[in-house]
Amino acid sequence: MNELHSVDFRSYGWRCLYVLVAVLGTTALMIWISFLPHYSWAAKAALILCVACVNAGLVAGFLMHLFSEKKMIYTLLAFVAVCCAGLMGLTIYAMHDMPPGTVFH
C-alpha cells in the first residue's frame, strides 16, 4: 500500500464512506430478517449469517486490505481457515459421539 502517497485523501474518504454505508446497510438487513414473522429460526439464522459473512467480507477485504495483500498473508490465512474448519468439524463430530448406553430424555 506504499503507493498511497499519491492518493487523494478526499477520494479515499468517500470510498470509506461507501463502505460504512454498506456495513450499516447489511446490519439493518440482519435486524430486518430477524423480525420476519413466517420463517423458521433455522432459516432466519442461515440468512442472517450469510449477510454477516458479506459484512465481514467488506471489512476484511477493504478495510484490512485483503483484496490486495501479499501471498504470505493469504498463505497464513489459508492455514487459519483449515484449522477453523477442523475446529468446527470436531464440534459437529462431538455432537453425535456419545458413550455407549447414553439415554436421551
Binding site: L63, L77, F79
Partner: protein, 259 residues
Amino acid sequence: MEIPYVVQPRPDTGVYNAKVGIWLFLASEVMLFGALFSAYVLLRVGAEPGTWPHGWQNLTLGTINTVILATSAITTLLAWVACKTRQIGRFKFFHGATLLLALTFLGVKSEEYREHLNHYEIQLADGRIAEGDMRENDPKQDDVLIDGRYVMDEKELYDLRAQRETRPQAIKIPRAQIKEMENYGPWHNTYLALYFTLTGLHALHVLGGGLVIGFLWGPGRRLWETNPEQFTNRVEISGLFWHFVDLVWIFLFPVLYLM
C-alpha cells in the same frame, strides 16, 4: 542495535516484519474466538427446543454499539491514510475520534451489563415467577419492588421479545414469599455465561486496542518526528487489530442479539 525490516518489506515475505507478526497474532485470535463460537454452537444446537433464551438483549444498545464500532473502523483507516499522505493534523483528529468511539463502546457495553445485573428472576412460594428490573432491594425492608410481570411457567421467560408488548408493572413482593431470587448475571444460565464470556473477552480487546490507539495518539506520536514511515506502519498495525475487533463484533451481534 537496529531492528531490521521495520519499514522496508522483507524480500522473502514481501511485507515488513510487524505486519507478519500482527497477522500471526490475529490468526491465534481467530482460533480463540473460533473455539468460543464453536462452544456456543454446540450448546445452542444441543439445547432442548424452546429452552434457549431469545430477545434477552437490548437490541437498541447492541445496534448503537455496532454503528459505533463500524464508524471507528473507518476513522482508524482514515488516520492511517492521513499518515500515508503526511497530514499529521488529520491523523490526530481521526485517531482521537477512534479513541472516543472505543470509550463510548465500552460505556454502552457497561450499561448493558448493568441492565442484566439489575434484572431479576424471583421464584415465589406459590409457584409463580416474577421477572423484571429491580427497583428496591433493601434487606431492612420486608418487601422488594420490581418493574416486571408474573409468569406461571419458566418457559415463558425464554422468549422475551414476544413479551415486549406487555408493559411492565410495579410489583411489590413480600420477602417471606420469595423462594429463590437471582439476577441475570453469568451464573444464571448457559446462555448468559456464554454472553458474558464472549462479550467480556471482546470488550477486553476493545480496551487493549483503545490503549494502543491512545498511546499512538499521545506519547507514541513522537516517533513521527524522527521516523514517519515506521510510525505509519505502527498505525497500520493497530488499525489491523482494530478491524479484527470489528470483525468479531460483526458475528457476535447477530449471534447474541438477533438469533
